[in-house]
């Protein structure tokens, strides 16, 4: 949540740009840092896990745990796990098991660790603190991938913690970043809890993520789930939703929150403000436009619908 906040999405069409995905997203976040100086977060889609395995991102509170030992225990319990890839307070593992099994094993044996994301290719990193420091500490500019979302947060209603930061995972390989504020999130959270959706915080954006998780679980396509937001969410929002194939964008029908999109032969980008797009290669020649309110836009190797 946040009345301000900055969001960014970048999808590279050209494989030659994939090694520089993190570098470009970092520059976009830098441009958006004044919209959200409280915390920052990113979701990267990269390096898919082999079939039958899943990739998880974990976050630990201080002090840093023995990630290697945790990896060994994951491997013993679930039939195989990669060594950890550690970035600041986070680590990712590829585990030879279904995501649900990994989740239940973790909540039983390592309740102190927080599962930030699970899926085939998604990795989520986020933390309280200035976006510039976040980028440096996590080495965000070094990460490659096919597409990524980012968020800079200016909190207005709930606390500034890593848990309250974006992106929020909304299911396997799915995540949400939000600029805006929702006014019916308390009732919606109660209803969604009855449907078995879990929430870690009192944050309104997490409710939007939970809503999408629920609609997708009930069989909606991503496009249908997003269109459902227009009916069921009361408030202001520009959403960007990451999927394994690309990302989607939706603005509330009143369009209280800004969004700009741009496309070249090399990439597709969305951001809260054009200045975050201006730092991308060839931005001056990009086709640039403002997404219409209440309409779902999506890009990817496969359609989201």
């Amino acid at each position: 949540m946040g009345c301000m906040c900055g969001i960014a999405g970048l999808y590279v069409k050209s494989p030659a740009l994939e090694p520089q995905l993190g570098e470009h997203l970092s520059r976009m976040l830098e441009q958006l840092s004044f919209r959200g100086p409280d915390s920052a977060g990113v979701a990267f889609y990269r390096d898919p896990a082999p079939a039958g395995s899943c990739k998880i991102s974990l976050c630990a509170a201080n002090p840093a745990p023995d990630w290697t030992a945790i990896g060994d225990r994951l491997a013993d319990a679930l039939g195989g796990a990669s060594p950890p890839r550690v970035r600041a307070s986070h680590a990712t593992f590829v585990v030879a098991a279904e995501a649900d099994d990994v989740r239940s094993w973790l909540s039983e044996h390592h309740p102190e660790l927080r599962l930030m994301s699970a899926g085939s290719s998604i990795e989520i990193y986020k933390e309280a603190g200035p976006p510039g420091e976040f980028v440096g500490r996590f080495g965000i500019d070094q990460i490659d991938g096919s597409h990524a979302l980012g968020h800079t947060r200016m909190a207005t209603e709930s606390r500034v913690t890593t848990e309250h930061s974006h992106p929020f995972s909304t299911g396997l390989d799915l995540c949400l970043v939000h600029n805006g504020s929702l006014s019916n999130h308390n009732r919606l959270r109660r209803n969604l809890r009855r449907e078995g959706i879990h929430f870690q915080t009192d944050n309104d954006s997490e409710v939007a993520a939970g809503y999408l998780t629920w609609r997708l679980r009930e069989g909606a396509s991503l496009e249908q789930a997003l269109e459902g937001c227009l009916e069921d969410l009361d408030g202001f929002y520009t959403f960007a939703v990451g999927t394994s194939d690309g990302f989607a964008v939706l603005r509330d029908p009143i369009a209280c929150k800004p969004a700009v999109m741009a496309e070249t032969d090399e990439w597709v980008a969305m951001a809260s403000e054009y200045r975050a797009i201006s730092v991308l290669p060839g931005a001056q020649q990009a086709v640039t436009w403002e997404p219409e309110p209440g309409r779902v836009y999506s890009w990817g190797r496969a359609p989201v619908a």
Partner: protein
């Protein structure tokens, strides 16, 4: 547009090296009209705001929020798109956007001319107080909301709630109107309106559209406390 003789040598400001504040202070302190070229705007906010001299400012690229806000006398031309609130509170002069404009273009503007060659999104001309706005493309929802005086010319289509709670501004739309706002109605296009509209299109240097292709909309005057005997003071 003809350049007045008084215009001095051109000034060039590169925002890749100089700050927006340096540019704006220069535009404010230079009391002789100048040609000013602004390079590498890169979506920065508040470029060329608060000018009160008849400068001719050319901006090479896309700008962020509030570009040319509170403009007086100057001509500001943006060779790109604009973020929120271009020419907001303009008093006089003209602002020409060669690309598209984001929300609230020309908000509360009291005078002068704003031309947008692309589209303008939601709330174009909100609370308009006397300026003239000509949009070559279409405008988004809630355009001319509570507009009091001046004109909004839309050569394309208008979004929902056009002219909601309108006072005495004149609205001309060439394409379709998704929905009229409260107290906004279609009105007869009389000779005086055709003449006014032709002049506006000419001032905007749009010669591919004709005044006769437009419909006129205005206030039904049922929502606000309007007394016909006070008409002269509006």
């Amino acid at each position: 547009m003809a350049v007045p003789d008084a215009i001095q040598e051109a000034l060039s400001v590169d925002l890749a090296t100089d700050s927006v504040r340096v540019l704006n202070q220069r535009l404010h302190s230079d009391l002789e009209p100048r040609r000013v070229q602004v390079m590498n705007p890169a979506g920065r906010h508040s470029i060329a705001v608060g000018i009160a001299v008849a400068h001719e400012v050319e901006i090479d690229g896309h700008v962020g929020y509030y570009c040319a806000g509170m403009n007086q006398l100057a001509t500001v031309r943006v060779h790109g798109n604009c973020g929120v609130g271009v020419a907001e509170n303009m008093m006089s002069g003209s602002v020409i956007v060669e690309g598209s404009a984001s929300q609230s273009a020309g908000a509360s503007a009291r005078g002068g001319l704003l031309v947008v060659h692309g589209d303008a999104s939601a709330r174009c001309g909100i609370s308009l107080k006397g300026a003239e706005i000509v949009v070559r493309g279409s405008v988004g929802h809630m355009s001319a909301f509570m507009a009091q005086k001046g004109s909004l010319v839309v050569c394309g289509d208008a979004g929902e709630a056009l002219g909601d709670s309108l006072y005495e501004a004149r609205l001309y739309v060439r394409g379709s109107v998704a929905e009229l706002g409260a107290d906004c109605v279609e009105k007869e296009m009389r000779t005086e309106h055709l003449e006014h509209l032709s002049q506006l299109l000419e001032r905007a240097e749009l010669d591919d559209v004709q005044a006769s292709e437009f419909r006129r909309y205005g206030s039904a005057r049922e929502l606000y406390n309007f007394h016909v005997e006070n008409l002269g003071s509006y």
